[in-house]
Structures are given as structure tokens and as C-alpha cells.
Symmetry: C2
Subunit: 340 residues, 2 copies
DNA sequence: CTGAAAGCGCTAACAA
DNA sequence: TTGTTAGCGCTTTCAG
């Protein structure tokens, strides 16, 4: 039962007195094969428990029907939701996906890219690690002729299809709301400026403040890795500063959680003394006490559209137009910023 | 630059006036090739930017050097940590891993298994979905001759290598601690009994209660899916019951979080009125207010040992002995169960 | 130490 | 409508 040698199209051919090529065509529903033989072939195929050998057909066709997805962290609802939606769309189109995570590390990301290229995936859908500044590995993907689609964290210089939200505008949503809540001293716990989306969030924040004639102090913009501990550290820093903000806009929910913890530990009333807004709509933001206002990034759509962008590329390999799809984001107002 | 045709061993051979077979041997450090040619070959290889074609060598050797990992949910620190450790060990041994998630769904799990078998992975390392009761697909993996190692959620009937903790004993740790805190009416929000690990946790809980001569009421054991909403629902149910427990042992941290929310919403003092203990040591358990006591499952070790079990199987394909590795677990006492 | 030749399983021209 | 043939890129006997 264990080494029951796998059956091949050869076996099927032999059983029916056909040639392997005829069997191959029959199995692939080639139009120029009679229905009768197709049926016969398929019948014998199940009888012999035939499973097509993916490796050989991939080798022959020069196409693996595999797509690699690289996300920074799997342990984030945003990314795993994008992931799932990519998978859903691609599975329906005959692709299997290989999911990998960079853990926000440049070295890991490079390694994952190499592995995926080695496996000969037909394409890679990726969101960059926080650490990454050198885009060489992404250039490599393109130069190998492998399709590349980026989402959320992607750079314009790479000149590839991209799906994301309008980060600049999202910051306006946040600031406008905070101003409406009577906040005037708004700080920003930001992501690293070398990542485009974080740069955009900073720019949007600054422009929105100016729009309202509010002062923008440089030491109220602090860049970091946006992990819980970063949020904690910087929030404490802001509290210890010369002038306390009356609102903090955090570019990521994890860091927002850390900030909230520190605020509560310091017996500061949220939102009355200091209002708080995060980014990404991670599920836990609705569970904290108080719940955290945040930005919904439309992860379902992002995943779906990224997958479709890849499929388009495959269908029109010669197309030279680069698609940048920018979705609307949505401010979710919860307790942490609603001063009633 | 884009369709720079990939170079093959043939190209290297041509460049050096050798044959492809010699080049292949040189690249694989075959002992019967002179050091001189090896060096020359490798030099030309980098010059031509040669990348071995994984598909063809896999086809020829009948070995893909790919391992599939199936976990129920990626969005859980326990599983993603096991995942990462598997990856670490296997990468060092020349394997790439393909990670997939079942989302706790039987149908998705079956689909993932089919995909992995199609891709011809050399082995599968898996933890079962909550929904799964039919082990047929796992039998299929074995009958194809693909190696199978299970961890955490695995069944004994499958007769495969397994790595996990002692769930029975873990329940004793929990109950013993609660009793020491003067709890006497201990309820259990359990996982589904058809999954062995949850059955074991229930059995351990019951035996431990008996050991302390505490009553074990059947309606104080409630099976569920262990999601947040399940924890909420059942906790409310327990509060509304004829007799309130003074401690609740939850078989999963997500459900424990839900239970805690309901307790706080009902203004119940935790742990003084009702103590609470979860399972898995998810990071958020240390962040809640009060922090949640829980069981650490040693995810690093589990991942590492599961990967090594697979490597062992590959090295000794004929070995008939089944390894069941049972690790120690550890009770992490936090505020939710420490009555001082 | 290196070469010749066959073949992994499948597909795609081209022929018949 | 089916068969013939060649070959994807690599490995592996077996000869030299």
C-alpha cells in the first residue's frame, strides 16, 4: 500500500492502447480529441488513481502555477486578511499560493524572495518589510521575468502594479476628526519615513495641521517600528515632554495599544485628557477599554485587487502600463477619540 | 534585460568545453571531479548568473525539497511561532516550506492537503482543524508515501510522529493552582471533545477535581470553538446559571479573553470573585487588565522537534517506529488567578 | 577524472 | 481525430 508506484499517462495510454500524447490531450480537454476517448481516458485515470505530475508539466510548460506572497507579519489581521483574499481569488484561477513572512526583517525578506524564485513561482505579491531600504531584491524579481505586484508597503520607484489606500488622505480624516473633538495639540507616532506609506501619513498629518492653523512641532513626530513596545516608549516620552499633546495619532494599531496602556497606567483620561487614534483596524482595537479609534484599510479589497492585478499581467504579458490602484480608507470612530 | 534567457548547465558546459554531466557533477561537488574544474565551473556559473532549475532536478530526483505546513490559524502566536521554528530548522537543511492555513475548516484543510500533494512536497507537518473529525485526508498523505508529522492537534489513530505537550497534566497544574487560591467551584470552558488534546484537558480537569474531592458538575463543562465570542457566550451562561463558579478554566486564550470581557462588564472582581485561567500564552494575555494566567505550550520546542522528526523520517525512510514526543508545559500565573 | 546516453513525466509541434 | 517525435533541464549509470 505504501509504494504503490504512482501511475502516469503512460500507464493510462497502455491500458487503452493509446499514446501518452493522446492521453495528455484528453486530460487537458484538448478540442481535437473525441469525446469518447476523453471519457475513456478519464475513467481509467480515476481507476488507476492517476495524479498529474505537477513538476514535469511545470518544467515542460515553463509555468508553475504557483504564486508567492510575502507579508511582513502573519500575526496581523490586516496582512492575514489580505493574504486570504489573494488566496481565494488565485485558487479559483488554478493557482496555488505559497505564503511567506519576512518578520519585518530585510535579510529574511531577501531569503524568501530567493526561495520563491528558486521554486519558479509565476509571480510574487508582496508588501515590504519595515527594515527594507534597498530595493535590489525586488528589482531582481522583475529582471527574472517573474511578475510582481505590491500592496500597502510598496515604493513608486519600483514601477510595478500596486494596490493600497490613500495614506495622505487618511491622515486628513484623522486630523479633521480630532480637531472636531476640540483637540489642538496633536502628536504623531509615525512609521519610518523611508517607507512610502508612512511618509505619506506624516505628510498628510502635517498638511492637515497647517490647514487648521495648528502648530506642527518636530518633536511631536516620532518615527519608530510601530510595535507595542515602541508605542509604550514614545507615549511615555511624550508625557514627559515640555508640553503634553491633547491627542495622539499613531500610524499603527499595535503601537496605539502600547500607547493606550501607558496612558491608562498614568491615570490619564482617554479621550478627555488625551485622545488616541490608531491605524489598520486590527480586531483588538474594538476590545480594549476604551476601544481605539482607527483607520480601516479595506484589506479584503486590497487582497482581491492585488490578485486580479497579477492575473491581468499573466493574461497580457506584454502590457507596459503600470496600474496603481488607490482605495478609499475609512475612519472608525470609537471611544478613544469621541469626546461626545 | 528582461528576457535575458536563463543560463543552464549546458551553457556553462559550452563555455568551458565540457559536457553537461560534468558540470552537474562539479556543481554538486561530486568527489570524482577535479578541484580545478569545479572551480572553473563555479566561476563561470556566477559569471553567467546561473540558477539551478529546481523543477528539473526535483523531477529527476523525485524529491522536491519542499515541506508543507498546515496550521489552523495563522493569526495565533502559538501556531505562527511553531511555524517559524519549523522553518528555521528546515531551511538550514535545504528545505523550503510552504505554509498554509485551514482556518479551522475541514474543507479548506482537505484542499490544502491536495494542493501540497500536487506540488509533490516531501512531507507535511500539520495540526488539525477544529472541525475535522474524518481523518481520511491524513491517511491519504501517508498512502502517497509523503512523510507526515503532526503537532498539538493530532490523533493517535493516525499512527504518525507527533509532538505536543501533556494536556492531561496541564489541567492538573491549573486545578492545583486554583485550589491553592481557595477556589472550590471550578468550571471549564472546553474545546471539542473529538479533538484529542481537548479531551485530555477535560479528563485532566475532572481527575484533578476528584483528587481534591471537589464536585464535578456536567453543566460546568461546556465545549465550544474557543473563539472570543464563544468565551463571551459561555461565560454569560455560567453567570446566569443556578450556581456561579468561583473559577473558570478556559482551554484557549481567545475564549479566555472573551470570558474576561464579560466578567468585567458584569462588574465581577477578577480574581477575587471569579478567577480565570486560559491556555497557550498568547501575547495579549499579559496585556489585559487584569492580565490572564495561562499555560505556556513551548511553541519553540514544538516547532523545532517537529521539524527534526521530519528530517529523521527522511533519513530513515524504512524505520517503522512512531515517535510521540510529549513536552512539559508551564503554568504562567498572572493577575487573573492570583488572590494574593 | 570526464563523456555518452538515457530518462524523470509531460506537452506541443508536426505528421499522418 | 490520433500518433510520432523531440525536448524542458537536470542527474545518473556506465564507459572510457
Amino acid at each position: 500500500m505504501e509504494n504503490k508506484k504512482k501511475s502516469t499517462i503512460k500507464d493510462i495510454a497502455a491500458a487503452l492502447g493509446l499514446t501518452p500524447s493522446a492521453v495528455s490531450k484528453a486530460l487537458n480537454n484538448h478540442p481535437r480529441i473525441s469525446e469518447k476517448t476523453k471519457l475513456a481516458v478519464k475513467e481509467v485515470a480515476v481507476e488507476l488513481d492517476y495524479q498529474p505530475n505537477y513538476l514535469s508539466s511545470a518544467l515542460r510548460k515553463g509555468k508553475s502555477n504557483l504564486v508567492g506572497v510575502i507579508i511582513p507579519r502573519v500575526n496581523s489581521h490586516f496582512f492575514s486578511s489580505v493574504m486570504e483574499n489573494i488566496e481565494k481569488v488565485l485558487n479559483l484561477n488554478g493557482y496555488s499560493i505559497i505564503m511567506t513572512q519576512s518578520n519585518e526583517l530585510f535579510a529574511k525578506e531577501c531569503q524568501e524572495i530567493d526561495t520563491l524564485l528558486k521554486i519558479q513561482v509565476d509571480g510574487i505579491i508582496a508588501s515590504m518589510a519595515n527594515e527594507t531600504t534597498d530595493l535590489g531584491y525586488y528589482e531582481k524579481i522583475k529582471s527574472k521575468g517573474t511578475e510582481l505586484v505590491m500592496f500597502d508597503r510598496g515604493e513608486e520607484e519600483l514601477n510595478v502594479d500596486y494596490v493600497g489606500i490613500d495614506d495622505y488622505k487618511s491622515s486628513h480624516l484623522v486630523v479633521d476628526h480630532l480637531v472636531a473633538q476640540n483637540c489642538r495639540r496633536i502628536a504623531h507616532i509615525a512609521g519610518f519615513k523611508h517607507i512610502r506609506i508612512y511618509k505619506e501619513r506624516i505628510r498628510g498629518y502635517q498638511d492637515a495641521l497647517e490647514k487648521w492653523n495648528l502648530k506642527t512641532e518636530d518633536n511631536w513626530i516620532v518615527e519608530c517600528n510601530l510595535r507595542i513596545e515602541d508605542g509604550r516608549r514614545i507615549m511615555q516620552q511624550l508625557l514627559d515632554g515640555p508640553e503634553r499633546p491633547d491627542a495622539v495619532y499613531v500610524a499603527g494599531d499595535m503601537a496605539a495599544l502600547g500607547a493606550l496602556q501607558v496612558l491608562l497606567e498614568n491615570k490619564i483620561k482617554v479621550p478627555d485628557e488625551i485622545a488616541l487614534i490608531g491605524f489598520s483596524d486590527e480586531p483588538f482595537t474594538s476590545l480594549t477599554q476604551p476601544s481605539i479609534s482607527t483607520i480601516n484599510q479595506n484589506s479584503d479589497q486590497i487582497g482581491k485587487l492585488a490578485a486580479e492585478a497579477f492575473l491581468d499581467r499573466v493574461k497580457n504579458p506584454k502590457s507596459k502600463t503600470i496600474n496603481r490602484i488607490i482605495l478609499e480608507s475609512e475612519l472608525i470612530v470609537r471611544q478613544s477619540s469621541k469626546r461626545v
